[in-house]
């Protein structure tokens, strides 16, 4: 067990050189395997041996990843970002109080203790909020675990018994049947019509036959292995357990799938933002700490200044604001069918520069549909789904449809129910048979009429050896009819004549051969699966109505048949996807296809959905020689337009440099036949050249890539649980088109967060400057820390959040994704603009109001200079003002409160103007308008909250504020107009002179 754990953790460490699932157990002889595991093929393992092996190999289950305890995560939130600074302030306040208390218990200022407690509460509450909002569900392993069957029938001690699947060990012989989930990686010993659905591993959901023979070196392709967690859809079988638990193919994928926290670009942006603000706060704080010590302030006083400066500099509410903004956008996206699991992922799609999309089910409908049919001397005809084809139009077509209808094992699950659209009716059978069934149903109206009229008397089902399917039908009149379908070459080889529309049959000629080959190649090139059809009327002489057909020895002819035509089908693109891809490309996002499917099919679909443009030169890298001939463009941009199709095998052989070149320079790339690990490598390659990568996928095989990508997008309907839990976002309607809306929302929220931050940061200056003048010029404190908190966590909150609803200023889908290295959420330009320009004006408004309150009460500005010491001296009960009146200590404190209230109010007023100004980064308010109702309400809320804080008795006492006179309320208003006018002028100037000096200095 311990060993296994080590192995697991080593796998995690060595993630970069992740290995594909490898085993050779399918190539060795069964007898050798029996010997290796010490198992008797008849009796199975003995209970003792099994117990001992269980000890050795561990339980047959996937090891869940280490989960960080919740309390540790919470502590992390508590002590990250700004919270560190606030804790610093909190501790410093308490230390101040403690020192004062120890010196003189009676005279200690409780203000400091109060402040310390308030700061502590602020951090605690915001941390709890942030934590609950961001807590992600780490349920990947859980969903992997859900794939394990609870029970397994195992042969032990000569008896078949049912045991818990987790107790299986290598060497066990298990019996499985249809409906079961494979309990471990099995080497098939016996199979009776056994078919498995490997879609959970490979993403391609088509039942594949299992049999004891080894058919391929690649373990994923050989027929004699059944994998842990896959479903058995048909037949029964017996298998030898070769691998269990984490060592299985599924375990390999699970091991590659683990979430990395903080991979979202917005996370890095917030980190950067917090760092910048932190540097500014601590820088200014320490500078003034030093200055105040130089001014011979007491150490404790200097410490109080430090707290003030830090608290003023830290936008306490911003983290909450960002979280709420992201949540609101997540809600918006949810309405547009994008369920965002991880809050930070909301923005990620906005900065995404590359989308690696899975093909099946995401770009396509995951539903085989007939697209073309051809009959001799006809043109290959396209048939759009829903289009009705007249089967009586030509006899050749009628025969083709008849053959297709009869020679089929597929049927609708509920044949009577015709109310449902044909495309949506559920059917049983192989994907291509269902496609043909639907095609026939649409053409003939009801396949059962023909089937009942021509009952089947014999049948050879399709198998991979002869590659055809044949059935013989008894017709109401006339001889037996033999109908056959299969690989077109096979069918063609068996025909001696071909039917012609309205004409007698014609023997096969070389001309005919040419046209057939042309059509076959043409359709094949389109990536379509082509099936040929032929029929033959059996000679009624040789085959009288009571003839018994023997399918084992084939007592009927299988050559010399009549060729009818071909039907081709493909899994077609979802409607809307080609347009969506184009929209992405217009938005500067590269869309690469990463699929497990054939290069040809992949290329065909890629062309249809615009991943490869119609006229692009396509370079296939499928064979070794293709790769050797391939020269990736190196700085030559003309080859950017060249499309590449890369086979998984060749991808393995590409050097890192070549791969880097491809992902950096080529805009149209299709990766075909890729394994889960290769998907991972592709994603990593894109990431290493600085791309922000989104990955879409639905299978378990996609999980590692989904979790590795900056944003993993899973499919809500067809997606497996594993893929959903590994993803950050789920498309509820499985439609690629929804991604475009999500990109738009992501980009919008990034712009809006910028605005929100610009708005919030601005008020830092009027919050900070009071402390600076207090320290340097000795004015009585114009603004209290409590009032700062009232702004940061009170009046600024709603407006800042309401930016989430702001509409876009221009067509955000016409510009390229942001460059994560250059377009930061917060840069120094934004800081300069907010702090040095708008913030400065706000500060002036605050100080003007302060000066007015003081002067109106008797202290003129010039008399305030250096008054601080006497002002705060409790011993002075008779401080003289400019008019010779004398103020007691308590009266002075009351006046100070009034100043705090006035300053607070002034900031609220100028923030109002800032709120309107920050709505736009380029446009004028006239063009932009006031459509954002939340923001309009926010302006009202600010006023109401401000009035509430200032004028409600007890409340204003609690916050150390005072009611204001109307006269003082008017003073800040000109500054609000100044801000508004200045910003309008600035934007006007910027529109006139983009890239000009002012633009470069002020456009954030």
């Amino acid at each position: 067990m311990e060993k296994l754990k080590n192995l697991f953790s080593r796998k995690k460490k060595a993630k970069k050189d992740a290995k594909d699932f490898e085993t050779t157990d399918h190539q060795v002889e069964l007898s050798e395997l029996y010997a290796r595991f010490g198992v008797d093929p008849v009796k199975g393992l003995s209970s003792e041996a099994a117990a001992q092996k269980l000890e050795q190999y561990g339980r047959n289950q996937l090891t869940p990843p280490k989960v960080t305890p919740v309390w540790l995560l919470f502590l992390k939130t508590m002590f990250s970002g700004f919270n560190v600074l606030l804790w610093l302030g909190c501790t410093a306040s308490c230390v101040c109080y403690a020192i004062e208390y120890s010196q003189d218990p009676w005279d200690a200022k409780t203000d400091n203790l109060y402040l310390g407690i308030v700061l502590g509460v602020v951090v605690f509450v915001t941390a709890i909020f942030q934590f609950t909002q961001e807590r992600k569900s780490s349920t990947i392993m859980k969903s992997f675990a859900e794939m394990i069957p609870p029970k397994a029938k195992v042969l032990r001690d000569g008896k078949v018994s049912e045991i818990k699947a987790v107790e299986l060990v290598p060497g066990d012989i298990v019996h499985v049947e249809f409906g079961d989930t494979t309990p471990a990686d099995l080497r098939i010993i016996e199979a009776r019509g056994m078919k498995v659905d490997n879609s959970s591993l490979t993403g391609e959901n088509e039942p594949i036959a299992r049999k004891p023979e080894c058919t391929a070196v690649n373990p994923m392709e050989t027929r004699n292995l059944a994998f842990f967690g896959t479903n058995i859809v048909e037949g029964t079988g017996v298998g030898l357990v070769i691998l269990t638990g984490d060592k299985t193919a599924m375990g390999n994928i699970a091991g590659l799938t683990h979430k990395e926290a903080g991979k979202a670009p917005i996370h890095a942006e917030m980190h950067n933002f917090i760092r910048i603000i932190g540097i500014v706060a601590v820088g200014i704080g320490l500078t003034f700490f030093a200055i105040s010590l130089l001014y011979k302030y007491h150490f404790l006083e200097a410490l109080v200044f430090l707290i003030g400066i830090i608290v003023a500099n830290v936008p306490e509410g911003i983290v909450c604001t960002v979280t709420i903004c992201l949540t609101l956008t997540a809600v918006k996206m949810r309405k547009k069918n994008c369920l965002v699991k991880n809050l930070e992922a909301v923005e990620t799609l906005g900065s995404t520069s590359t989308i690696c999309s899975d093909k099946t089910g995401t770009l396509t409908q995951n539903k085989m549909t007939v697209t073309h049919f051809w009959f001799p001397e006809g043109k290959a005809t396209y048939c759009a789904p829903g289009e009705n084809i007249d089967p009586n139009g030509t006899t050749a077509l009628a025969a083709l449809i008849r053959s297709a209808t009869l020679c089929s094992r597929a049927d609708f699950k509920d044949p009577e129910n015709k109310s449902v659209e044909i495309q949506k009716r559920e059917a049983t059978g192989d994907a291509s048979e269902i496609a043909i069934l639907r095609f026939c149903e649409r053409t003939t109206g009801d396949v059962h009429v023909m089937r009942q009229a021509n009952p089947k008397v014999a049948e050879i089902p399709f198998n991979s050896a002869n590659k055809y399917q044949v059935s013989i039908h008894k017709r109401p009149k006339g001889p037996f009819l033999l109908v056959m379908k299969g690989a077109p070459e096979q069918i063609y080889a068996r025909c001696s004549t071909y039917s012609r529309p309205g004409l007698p049959d014609e023997p096969v000629s070389s001309d005919f051969a040419k046209s057939f080959e042309k059509v076959n190649a043409h359709l094949g090139k389109k990536g379509e699966r082509v099936l040929g059809f032929c029929d033959f009327e059996l000679d009624p002489e040789k085959f009288p109505p009571d003839f018994t057909f023997d399918t084992e020895v084939t007592n009927f002819p299988l050559t010399g048949l009549r060729f009818l035509g071909v039907i081709s089908m493909i899994d077609p693109p979802r409607p809307g996807v080609p347009e969506a891809v184009k929209l992405c490309q217009n938005a500067g996002i590269r869309v690469a296809m990463v699929t497990g499917d054939h290069p040809i099919t992949a290329t065909a679909i890629a062309k249809q959905v615009n991943i490869i443009r119609e006229n692009a030169k396509v370079t296939l890298i499928v064979e070794d020689k293709d790769r050797e001939n391939f020269r990736p463009c190196d700085g030559d941009f003309s080859v950017q337009d060249e499309a590449l199709v890369i086979h998984g095998e060749q991808l393995k052989k590409l050097t890192d440099k070549e791969l880097e070149n491809i992902v950096r320079n080529h805009r149209q790339v299709v990766f075909a036949r890729t394994s889960p690990v290769q998907k991972l490598i592709i994603v990593t390659a894109y990431q290493s050249v600085g791309k922000i990568v989104a990955v879409t996928g639905d299978g378990v095989n996609d999980a590692p890539a989904l979790s590795k990508a900056h944003i993993g997008i899973a499919m809500g309907i067809t997606g497996t649980e594993v893929s959903k839990s590994a993803a950050d976002m789920i498309l509820l309607n499985d439609n690629f088109t929804s991604i475009v809306t999500a990109v738009e929302e992501g980009r919008l929220i990034f712009d809006n967060l910028k605005k929100s931050i610009a708005y919030t940061l601005t008020s830092n200056v009027p919050e900070l400057t009071p402390f600076l003048v207090y320290v340097v010029f000795g004015l009585p404190l114009p603004m209290s820390i409590i009032a700062i908190l009232c702004i940061d966590l009170g009046t600024d909150m709603w407006p800042a959040i309401s930016y989430a609803y702001e509409v876009a200023e221009s067509d955000i889908m016409q510009r390229p994704p942001r460059d994560p290295k250059y377009d930061r959420l917060v840069n120094f330009r934004l800081l300069r603009y907010s702090y040095l320009q708008i913030g400065f004006i706000q500060g002036m408004a605050g100080f003007m109001t302060y000066a007015a309150v003081m002067a109106d009460n008797g202290f003129r500005l010039n008399d305030l200079y250096n008054l601080r010491l006497r002002w705060e001296d409790k011993g002075i009960n008779d401080l003289t003002d400019s008019f010779g009146q004398e103020w007691s200590f308590e009266e002075r404190k009351c006046l100070e409160k009034c100043c705090h209230a006035a300053f607070f109010y002034a900031i609220v007023v100028v923030q109002w103007a800032d709120l309107i100004a920050s709505k736009m980064r380029t446009n004028s308010i006239v063009a932009h308008g006031f459509a954002n109702k939340a923001l309009n309400m926010g302006m009202l809320s600010t006023v109401l909250l401000c009035v509430f804080l200032l004028y409600t008795p007890f409340v204003n006492q609690m916050f150390a504020l005072m009611p204001l006179r109307l006269r003082w309320c008017l003073i800040a208003i000109p500054y609000a107009f100044l801000i508004f006018t200045y910003d309008e002028m600035r934007r006007y100037w910027n529109r006139l002179h983009p890239q000009g000096l002012v633009f470069n200095e002020t456009f954030y």
């Binding site: 184009k582 490309q585 217009n586 938005a587 500067g588 443009r613 941009f637 950017q640 337009d641 016409q814 510009r815 390229p816 942001r818 460059d819 290295k821 250059y822 377009d823 040095l836 320009q837 400065f840 002036m844 003007m848 000066a851 007015a852 002067a855 109106d856 009460n857 008797g858 500005l861 010491l869 006497r870 001296d873 409790k874 011993g875 002075i876 009960n877 008779d878 003289t880 008019f883 010779g884 009146q885 004398e886 103020w887 007691s888 200590f889 308590e890 009266e891 009351c894 006046l895 009034c898 006179r965 003073i971 000109p974 983009p994 890239q995 000096l997 002012v998 633009f999 200095e1001 456009f1003």
Partner: protein, 329 residues
């Protein structure tokens, strides 16, 4: 670059708002901090070239100059609404209100936070500061320009209308005379009583524009009964806590009735003589801290211990031991 890309159907890079208005393809240079400080190739210092620095400085100089003008303009407008004789908000309903606080002297600038008066009768150095502070405080009473002698029936009311000096009158404040204090042994000559261990403490009412004492309607509070005179403000000092009351000893009020009402109300005037009264502690205990609270008494001096109105607190220690030999300093 665009020529080479010609024919491409999607060329997002060409749109105007590319990456915040910067060319998206701007090569990301590897720049160290040294490079940031001074970049030889670009000739830039701290990320800006000389030209850029000049432009940006010019921008901010103009910006701030304009803002300063705006601010000063606002200030000028505001100041023009002010009356230099009378603060806009004074008297009833304002922050300063109508309830005067009390002040005391000597208050020593070098030890601002302290309300402790500690002196050693045997060491003149120990009370030098207090004497100097009192000297300085009383100095202004020596200047009698723009003052007049107010007889009975005369007061500052005669020259003040609506809180302002009435320029139609002589416009002189009532002169305050210190003679009574000297007679009571509180003068510079005997170091305001500190020398004898009987310190004189000045008590004053805070100047409030428009405030004049009002007479008690009925009973005069017991503390000042007998001393109180109508139209004036009497003072009484008592130990703050019980032990203090025990030790405080005899207090002499100079003059006994306190401050005479004729010096009220206060207004902005050339040489206002603030009326004061003295309390002389005649029998202070030796080497013991006494906490003292003094109150003013008139109908409109409200005593509010919560907000510290109508009272003043200070502490006295009278020491009595030979001065330690002082080292240089």
């Amino acid at each position: 670059m665009s020529a080479k890309k010609g024919g491409s159907r999607y060329q997002p890079e060409e749109t105007s708002l590319v990456a915040n208005g910067k060319p998206a393809a701007a090569p990301v240079q590897k720049t160290g901090f040294k490079h940031f400080l001074y970049n030889k190739e670009e000739g830039s210092c701290l990320g800006r070239t000389a030209k850029s620095w000049f432009q940006i400085l010019l921008f901010y100089i103009i910006f701030y100059t304009l803002l300063a003008c705006f601010w000063l303009g606002c200030l000028y407008l505001f100041l023009s609404t002010l009356d230099y004789q009378l603060p806009r908000y004074h008297g009833p309903g304002t922050i300063i209100g109508v309830n005067p606080g009390l002040g005391y002297q000597p208050w020593v600038k070098s030890d601002p936070e302290s309300t402790l008066i500690r002196f050693n009768t045997k060491d003149p150095e120990s009370y030098k500061n207090y004497v100097e502070a009192l000297d300085k405080y009383l100095e202004k009473y020596g200047n009698t320009t723009n003052t007049r002698t107010c007889g009975p029936g005369q007061s500052n009311k005669d020259v003040i209308v609506d809180g302002k000096l009435d320029n139609s009158t002589v416009g002189e404040a009532c002169r305050f005379n210190l003679d009574t204090f000297a007679k009571a042994g509180c003068s510079k000559a005997n170091a305001y009583g500190f020398k004898d261990g009987k310190p004189c403490i000045i008590l004053s009412l805070n100047r409030l524009i428009g405030w004049t004492p009002e007479d008690y309607d009925g009973d005069v509070p017991a503390e000042v009964a007998g001393r109180y005179k109508k139209g004036s403000v009497a003072f009484n000092c008592e130990g703050t806590y019980d032990p203090d009351r025990e030790y405080i000893g005899e207090r002499q009020y100079v003059p006994p009735e306190g401050i005479d009402g004729r010096f009220f109300p206060y207004a902005v005037m050339p040489n206002y003589h603030q009326p004061i009264a003295l309390v002389k502690f005649n029998s202070l205990p030796v080497n013991r801290l006494v906490q003292i609270q003094c109150r003013g008494y008139a109908k409109n001096v409200i005593y509010d211990i919560e907000n510290g109105l109508g009272l003043v607190n200070f502490e006295l220690i009278r020491e009595d031991y030979p001065p330690k030999p002082r080292t240089e300093e």
